[in-house]
Each structure stands twice: as C-alpha cells, then as structure tokens.
Assembly symmetry: C2
Homo-oligomer: 125 residues x 2
C-alpha cells in the first residue's frame, strides 16, 4: 500500500489530484465547494488529499457524465461511503438507474436514426 514508514499515508496537493483524474484544478475545488470532497489542510492552507481522492473524482466525473447533479451525488454519497442505506436512498439509487437507462435508450434510438441517414446518404450521394 502507499503508506510511508511512519505509517502516515502519502498526501497529494490539488494539482496532482487534478492531473491524475484528468480534470482541472478548478473542478476539484468546485467538488469541495459542493460537499463532495473534503481535504486536510497544510499549515499554510494548501489542500492535501489522500490517494483515494483520484478515484473519487473519477467517480464524480462518471456520475456527471450520466447526468446526475452535484446535489444528487451528495445525496447518494452515503451509500457509497458508508455502505449503509435507508429506504429513501435505495429508492433514489433505483430511480437514478432508471433515468440512466432511459437516457441510454434515447441515445440508442438517436444513434439508429443517424445510422439511417448515413446509410441513405451513402447509397444515394
């Protein structure tokens, strides 16, 4: 594991997290502002992140790409972090899953529609 000899985990500054996750520094600060990501602070006030921060940021990106808002992600983070859920949270998880599935269906239909046009314009130039 990435742990130093004295047992403390190796910490990263914000730039390393951003590069590691392929996002901007601004984005990482924004996630903190939205309550998605917490960071320790160095004596001089710089943010210090643990190794799992990169994976978390990647996860946020994935959820954003799926159309979830920051608020929705914060509401669902307990499921992910603590592994425990109440009935409301389980319902929200399922609801989001259904939304994503619906969007997939829409996209597939749109793709097929474009494919029709492409086929037409190829055979009929």
């Amino acid at each position: 594991m990435s742990v130093t000899v004295d047992g403390t985990e190796r910490l990263m500054r914000i730039g390393e997290v951003a590069r590691g996750a392929g996002v901007s520094v601004r984005a990482v600060r924004y996630y903190e502002q939205q309550g998605l990501l917490t960071a320790d602070r160095s004596p001089s006030g710089q943010r210090l992140y643990r190794q799992d921060a990169i994976a978390r940021v990647r996860f946020f990106q994935q959820m954003y790409a799926a159309g979830l808002t920051s608020r929705r992600i914060t509401e669902l983070l307990p499921c992910w972090d603590a592994g425990h859920t109440d009935a409301d949270q389980r319902a929200m998880l399922r609801a989001e899953r259904e939304r994503i599935q619906a969007r997939i269906d829409d996209l597939v239909a749109a793709r097929d529609r474009l494919d029709q046009v492409i086929a037409l314009t190829d055979t009929h130039p």
Copy 2:
C-alpha cells in the same frame, strides 16, 4: 392523406404542433429562431404549420437528447431534407454518430457502476 377537398394541406397553429410533439409553444418558436423550422403566416401573423412539423419537432428533440446543439442540427438538416450530402456533411454525420456512441458507452459504464452499489446496499443493508 390529410388533404382537404381543394387539394390544400390542413394547417396547424403552433399550439397544436406543440401538443402533438410534447413540447412547449416557446420551444417551437425557439426552433424557428434557430432556423430549424419554418412556418407560413396567416394574414394576422399567426404561424401555420404543415403536418410534418410534428415529426420534425420530435426529430429535433431526439437530436437534442443525443447532445447535439441547434447549430449542429442546422448543419445536418440538408442531409435529412434534401437527402444529398457533400463530404464534409458525411464526415460530420459520422463524427456525431461516434460521439453518441461514446456517450452511450459512458452511460452504460455509469449504470453498471450504480448497479454495483445497488447490489452492495441490497445484500448489506
């Protein structure tokens, strides 16, 4: 077909188009503003649409849902309308298709990720 005895097509006003396509009146006006949809005008200035307007609006909705912008749709409309394309347009069609496919892949990954969480929270409540 929906043609009156004198051979003229039955025309709709904007509200009927909007209801038929499941969008707002404002949205239909917006599409015209973006150059996506044209309408005849009654002597008093009201927009009059042909029957195929509803299908066009549904098509726009589908493309919007797929992440295309109004500009992109206007650029691709000639393919759809005239059925002819130059090389640039064919390239654009394919590029959009690839983008949609990439978004589908992202969404499928996000869905699977959520499914993992759901499975966890179900077996481990």
